[in-house]
Symmetry: C2
Subunit: 143 residues, 2 copies
DNA sequence: ATCAGTGCAAACTTTTTGCACCGCA
DNA sequence: TGCGGTGCAAAAAGTTTGCACTGAT
């Protein structure tokens, strides 16, 4: 937790951006979630007004503290950037209820995936700096 | 092209849904794109009113003719479903300009990816029926 | 001929912004 | 104490829907 604030704080400080009470709260909620959250969820969990949630997420995104991802088009979802969590992960997306959960692959699998992607990029003259793997299927609850 | 209309037509017919002139046009534009298109792009390219574009895409999605995917939260993107194109592909997403392009992996790579995902799913008690791989980076234009 | 589909316009949802006030560096 | 941040409310952007008319089967 202190580690979280330390990392986020550093990143904000390096851009001369303040780390307010509201921003700390957002970071904590995101860190505790274990999955990407929608703005509605963030509003509910933090009690902050929508405008502050949106604006702070935008700031966080610019600074590289959060990533904005979208599974459905109607709600954006946000998660802490991997630079902050120091943990690379992917998503299990339930195509029935729309639930999204974080998941981690073991090192060998991740290495293998990276190798595949590198080959793909070479063929396409595209400079890779990351990847996003969503596994689509049915979650425990919906099965 | 005829093959496209044949496949889409069959799928619609099986659900007792009509294949109107407007729907043919949407299917053709999507097939010609080589990348997922936004609703704005579809409106521009087809000349159809927004409401028809949205409604027909919703119908197509229900019937399994198109997939709705979202890279940014502000614009949904649509592409023909793999059942229709008979071609599995992934996306190269430019993090600078937001451009998205289709890309295909060779059979060995795809098999390897599938194996990795299967392992991931077993570990998580999640029933997999597909995957989505986005390669993030910088496109030729932005490099 | 019938009922799904169309086009317009209006409603609704999600996200962004203007503005006056507040509080941290 | 100044300037970035906050909260409210209003606007903008994107998507959906009601309704009367049209057209594919």
């Amino acid at each position: 937790m202190d580690r979280l604030h330390d990392r986020v704080g550093r990143r904000l400080a390096s851009r001369r951006v303040r780390y307010s009470r509201q921003r700390r709260e957002l970071a904590e909620v995101l860190a505790a979630a274990g999955r990407p959250l929608t703005t509605a969820e963030l509003v509910a969990r933090t009690g902050l007004p929508q405008s502050s949630v949106y604006r702070n997420l935008a700031t966080f995104e610019q600074v590289g503290v959060v990533d904005r991802i979208a599974f459905a088009a109607d709600h954006a979802r946000f998660e802490l950037a991997e630079d902050v969590t120091a943990r690379h992960h992917h998503h299990l997306v339930c195509t029935v209820c729309g639930a999204v959960e974080d998941t981690v692959m073991n090192t060998r699998q991740e290495r293998s995936l990276r190798r595949i992607i590198a080959a793909l990029a070479t063929a396409g003259a595209f400079e890779v700096d990351g990847h996003r793997l969503d596994v689509l299927g049915t979650c425990r609850v919906c099965a």
